[in-house]
């Protein structure tokens, strides 16, 4: 378990951490999610000891490590740009932490072989980092971090430097790895999809403060505020309220829209709008709309729905929002 209490950190006038308190349960995979400058990396580096904090306490497994250097915190750290030891082979990279601890050669060899197999790099022992792809380098970095049996594994935007496809693959691979190894893991990311996909807990940060902590579903369904809502997925502004584009229902019949809206509690009302463009994005179809007030927003519908309703640019529709709870018709949706 990692506990951070009342952590503060300033860089000159810039407040990186503003009284942050967070508890990360043992064995969890927690994502620190936020835009750049939100303090998520600073928080991770403060847990690692790579960054000091001005005040507050960091403890790992019940031990106060606030004043301990990174060497004595029992951590494994993975960097966005791999931080590979370029002059060492893959084997020597992974073995680094163990050689530093002067473990017996046989033990080092066994452990490194085992880890290389786990990360799918067996057969690459004698290569140099420059001979690996980005994804392979990052898996090597993970093996290197895991070699020292860390109490916590800290990942700073680990997939940020990889292309989209490799990123998604590694993400799923990390999730499976975590299910096998169960080491308490903290992952920093600015990509909400990554956080929702891989983490079992998410802490959303903004301007050095924690906005909300929870599991992915509750954060998505019950965001504490507009920031969390807009950061964890696309949003549309309908009648002054933020709604998910896939919760927007488009009706051609104004009366039907009003009647349905009347049954929805706390709804933003019915907004009359003109269809500007219909964009097909594979399975989803995005309908771009311009409200009579001049405000633009987008609704997201399924392809089947779009085929059935055949929205045409220029036509007038009536948009209303449906709450996920009563979205039993399993139909409309929208996106920005």
């Amino acid at each position: 378990m990692i506990t951070v209490s009342s952590a503060r950190k300033n860089y000159g006038d810039f407040v990186a951490l503003d009284d942050v308190s967070l508890t990360i349960p043992s064995g969890s995979l927690t994502a620190l999610l936020g835009p750049s400058g939100s303090g998520k990396s600073t928080l991770l580096r403060a847990i690692a000891g790579l960054e000091g904090i001005d005040s507050g306490v960091v403890s790992i497994a019940g031990v106060d490590v606030t004043r301990e250097p990174p060497q004595r915190r029992g951590i494994g750290f993975v960097f966005q740009h791999y931080a590979a030891f370029k002059h060492m082979t893959v084997r020597d990279n992974v073995a680094f932490g163990l050689t530093i601890r002067k473990r017996p050669k046989a033990e080092v060899r066994r452990k490194v072989d085992e880890l290389l197999e786990i990360v799918g790099l067996d057969g690459f022992q004698h290569r140099y980092p420059s001979q690996l792809s980005g994804g392979q380098r990052q898996r090597m970095a993970l093996a290197r971090a895991l070699a020292v049996d860390p109490r916590v594994l800290l990942l700073d935007e680990p997939f940020g430097a990889l292309d989209a496809k490799v990123r998604a693959e590694l993400r799923h691979w990390l999730r499976r790895l975590h299910d096998e190894v169960h080491v308490t893991t903290v992952l920093v990311t600015h990509d909400q999809e990554e956080a929702l996909d891989v983490a079992d807990r998410i802490a959303v940060l903004n301007r050095g403060r924690i906005e909300q902590v929870g599991d992915p579903v509750s954060l998505y369904e019950k965001p504490a505020n507009e920031f969390v809502m807009s950061f964890l997925g696309s949003v549309a502004r309908l009648g002054g309220q933020l709604v998910r584009p896939h919760d927007i229902v488009l009706e051609r019949d104004r009366l039907a829209a009003l009647a349905a809206d009347a049954r929805t509690p706390a709804s933003p009302g019915v907004v009359t709008a003109t269809v500007e463009r219909v964009v097909r994005l594979g399975f989803e179809v995005r309908v771009e709309l311009k409200a009579d007030s001049g405000e633009r927003f987008a609704a997201q519908v399924t392809r089947a729905e779009a085929d059935r309703r055949r929205f045409q640019p220029g036509e007038t529709v009536h948009a209303r929002a449906d709450r996920p709870a009563d979205a039993t018709e399993a139909e409309p949706a929208l996106a920005i």
Binding site: Q71, F79, G97, I100, S130, Q131, V148
Partner: protein, 297 residues
């Protein structure tokens, strides 16, 4: 090569344009120059220049050194005073080179990693030995460490004096070769080592130093070569005492003065051979370290 009969302006134009003007062929009528032509001329000019400036004089020197036959060459090189001068030069230069390897790296480290007032001035100061006539260095050092030393340190006509003088003139080599590498060094690599439990010392030894090694080696090699050939900075403080502080350059000068040009040439050739071998070996070592790092798929 069908271009040998081309008008001269074309040749001039070609040699001054980049070797492969792929996108924009010369528009001069009949001037369809193939890239190979430009390259051939480039190589030719470089070859000619190096021959005139470096290779021919060296060849002439070598021929001169053999004017009295191989035996004469051997006698000239193995004369006790000549051997002593060569020995002094090599030992002092090696000490200076090692000193530079350590101190130069340290200076580069402080200049890159630490912030202190006046850092830009110190940085500019490093190049001063390059800018000063080396005889000025000699005078400066003599003023401080000479017979009338204000600090009571008398290094005149001692080997230590030679070391100090040579260290002064070779200061920039290691600093300037290590600095850019240090600037590009990824700090996260050091943080990664720390997170894996490596102390600062272990991180430096096992992660930073291997990365700096090629630059340190090449800077040290240059400093050594420069020290071996240095004349101006040691001419005053060195004392020129045969078998003690006389360095090879001074011995050669002396041989010229007493009208033994063949001896001078022979010792010069020996010195040349040693310097060349040293630079070659260091380069080999340095590039191996570098290749290991850059070996790409």
């Amino acid at each position: 090569m069908s271009t040998t009969t081309r008008p001269r302006e074309d040749v001039v134009q070609t040699s001054s344009s980049p070797p492969r003007p792929a996108g924009s062929p010369p528009t001069r009528e009949g001037g369809r120059l193939r890239p190979a032509t430009g390259r051939a001329i480039g190589v030719g000019v470089v070859g000619l220049w190096l021959s005139l400036i470096v290779l021919l004089p060296l060849a002439a020197l070598t021929v001169r050194s053999l004017d009295e036959g191989l035996a004469g060459f051997w006698d000239a090189v193995t004369a006790p005073v000549a051997l002593a001068a060569i020995g002094t030069t090599l030992v002092v230069s090696a000490v200076v080179a090692l000193l530079n390897a350590v101190m130069g790296t340290l200076v580069a480290w402080v200049l890159v990693r630490d912030e202190f007032p006046g850092k830009r001035w110190v940085n500019a100061l490093i190049d001063l030995p390059f800018a000063l006539p080396t005889i000025v260095a000699s005078i400066v050092l003599l003023a401080l460490y000479g017979p009338s030393s204000p600090v009571g340190l008398q290094l005149n006509a001692t080997r230590l004096g030679l070391v100090v003088a040579l260290a002064f003139v070779t200061l920039p080599f290691v600093v300037r070769s290590v600095q850019p590498v240090l600037l590009e060094l990824d700090r996260e690599v050091e943080e990664a080592a720390a997170s894996l439990g490596a102390s600062n010392g272990a991180t430096f030894r096992r992660v930073v130093l291997p990365t700096l090694a090629p630059a340190v080696i090449s800077g040290t090699g240059l400093a050594f070569a420069r020290a071996v050939g240095e004349y101006g900075s040691v001419v005053l403080i060195g004392g020129n005492i045969p078998r003690e502080t006389q360095v090879v350059s001074q011995y050669i000068q002396q041989q010229i003065e007493i009208d033994r040009p063949v001896n001078a040439a022979a010792v010069s050739v020996a010195l040349l051979g040693i310097s060349f071998l040293t630079l070659f070996l260091l380069r080999l070592w340095g590039s191996r370290a570098q290749r290991r790092e850059e070996r790409s798929s």
